[in-house]
Amino acid sequence: MRIQCPFCGERDLSEFGYLGDAAFQRPDPGAPDAEAKFVDAVYVRNNPAGPHDELWYHAAGCRSWLRVTRNTRTHEILAVAFPTPDRHS
């Protein structure tokens, strides 16, 4: 598996670290159902078999966080981008 880093170019998997599902968004701690929302955000995953948006870290390269869309059935990389600024990563 190789990831096309938008800054460094195509690099080997061994240069990257993996965080997981990019869907994570920090819930509003002031909301009345904040506890359930936090449990969901921290623990529950869609875990799809197919395209999966996920966060990778180019640790041995430019040290950018990357938002990668990858097929979990085939390991094919479908898209790579920097995470949008409003994402917590």
């Binding site: 598996m1 080997d12 998997l13 061994s14 993996y18 997981g20 599902d21 506890e35 359930a36 449990v39 969901d40 921290v42 623990y43 529950v44 995953r45 869609n46 875990n47 799809p48 078999a49 999966h52 996920e54 990858r70 979990t72 059935r73 085939t74 390991h75």
Partner: protein
């Protein structure tokens, strides 16, 4: 037919033409008391104990492919009960006790071999944590011995004791641990369950659940509709996908774990050995091949194959620990899809949907758990209450904070 030395001799006289099929390949009926999804070790063990312990034999086990074709055929066959936490240890020890009587129970040679599991430690701090785990095991009545470096060297003289980067200071040994033959476990449970009237239905993929008044009352499958009072899922690796058919989202990620086997060599490694400084574990099969593995690849995957950086890491672990095997050739490698739960421990519980029960999240410890998992899941399905050794494996523990995080790494499945 009962397997025994006398039957073997009798069959030998007639040229072994009288052996019947090991178990009955059934066609699905329209309705059962209990349907179990997943014909791996856990599903078949559940069916066996439902029939044997609880007297419920109107049971079907539905398998998408052929039985044992998933993770039951993709593991490294290690059995052990060397756990620290009070929620885990009695469960795995019950599993070990069931392993010890399994062959008599099933009348099937599962090749259970208590050749010992040795976890090596490489620093004073690691010795202390292993001593703590060993003490916890002994307080639960499980055997554990803390060995020093000299004792390890007497046992495994071929390890690298030459002042390696991570010197071996000793190990925590569970003598009752060891290995079993994975396929024989599947076939043995299938045979025993089938003999008690359980239908084992192969090539039968579940494609949906049938609901009536909020309750799940059956499944749609590639071989027709099947109704049941209760439905148990034992599909570790694909749990999220099957659960999604019922609208459930779970605290599980699917990850790939690679394993390897070498060409056969003469008897060399007496038991199971694990490297404590990296992540590498190895044993030798009765056929002579070295069976070994290491860490998860670390990313979500359903591909049943991994990538080269992990292969390299596992082989570096092998060379750091036992350079003597450096010229043994790797015969094959494979990947299994692990049901990685968010705290590294399994789930045996109700789902919140009436009629649907969950057995999942086995991470990469599912094989050793097979007998107790089946025992406790059968108990839950039959009596609607958790078995006492599986009470901690609740689905709601992620919300209540009663996590079972054996490694203490938090909600990061690729680190468990």
């Amino acid at each position: 037919m009962r397997y025994s030395i006398f039957n073997l001799m009798r069959q030998a006289l007639s040229g072994h033409r009288g052996w019947g099929p090991t178990w009955r390949d059934a066609a699905p009926k329209a309705a059962y008391d209990i349907v179990i999804i997943g014909g791996g070790g856990h599903g078949l063990a559940t069916a066996h104990y439902l029939a044997k312990v609880h007297g419920i034999s109107r049971v079907a086990v539905l398998e998408k492919g052929w039985i044992g074709s998933g993770n039951a055929g993709r593991n490294t066959t290690i059995i052990r009960s060397n756990y620290l936490l009070a929620g885990n240890n009695p469960f795995y020890e019950w599993s070990m006790k069931l392993w010890e009587g399994l062959e008599q129970d099933l009348n099937y040679n599962a090749m259970v071999s208590q050749r010992g599991v040795l976890n090596l430690y490489h620093s004073d701090a690691q010795r202390d944590t292993y001593a703590r785990r060993g003490n916890a095991m002994r307080m639960h009545g499980v055997d554990a011995e803390l060995l020093d470096a000299a004792a390890v060297q007497r046992m495994l003289p071929f390890l690298d004791f030459s002042g390696a980067r991570f010197p071996i200071h000793g190990g925590l040994l569970q003598r009752r641990g060891g290995t079993a033959r994975h396929d024989a476990v599947v076939w043995g449970y299938a045979r025993a369950a089938s003999d008690r009237g359980v239908d084992i239905v192969q090539n039968c993929e579940v494609t949906g659940f049938i609901r009536e008044a909020g309750r799940i009352v059956g499944v749609e499958t590639s071989r027709g509709t099947i109704h049941a009072h209760k439905i148990g899922m034992a599909v570790a690796g694909s749990t999220s996908r099957v659960a999604a058919l019922a609208g459930l989202r779970l605290p599980i990620e699917s990850h790939v774990l690679q394993a390897f086997v070498s060409e056969a060599i003469k008897p060399f490694i007496p038991g199971v050995v694990t490297f404590g400084a990296g992540h590498f574990y190895i044993s030798q099969s009765d056929k002579g091949g070295l069976v070994f593995g290491g860490d998860l690849d670390g990313y979500n995957s359903y591909a049943q194959r991994g990538n080269l950086p992990t292969v390299e890491d596992v082989c570096e672990g092998a060379m750091a620990l036992m350079p003597a095997i450096g010229r043994v050739r790797v015969l094959r490698s494979w990947g299994g899809v692990m049901d990685m739960s968010m705290d590294g421990s399994p789930i045996i519980d109700r789902t919140g949907i009436a009629g649907l029960y969950l057995n999942a999240g086995w991470c990469y410890g599912g094989f050793k758990a097979t007998p107790a998992s089946g025992w406790c899941f059968a108990h839950l399905l039959a009596r609607d209450e958790s078995h006492e050794v599986a009470r901690a494996y609740r689905l709601d523990r992620f919300a209540t904070g009663h996590l079972l995080d054996e490694r203490g790494v938090g909600a990061q499945p690729n680190l468990h």
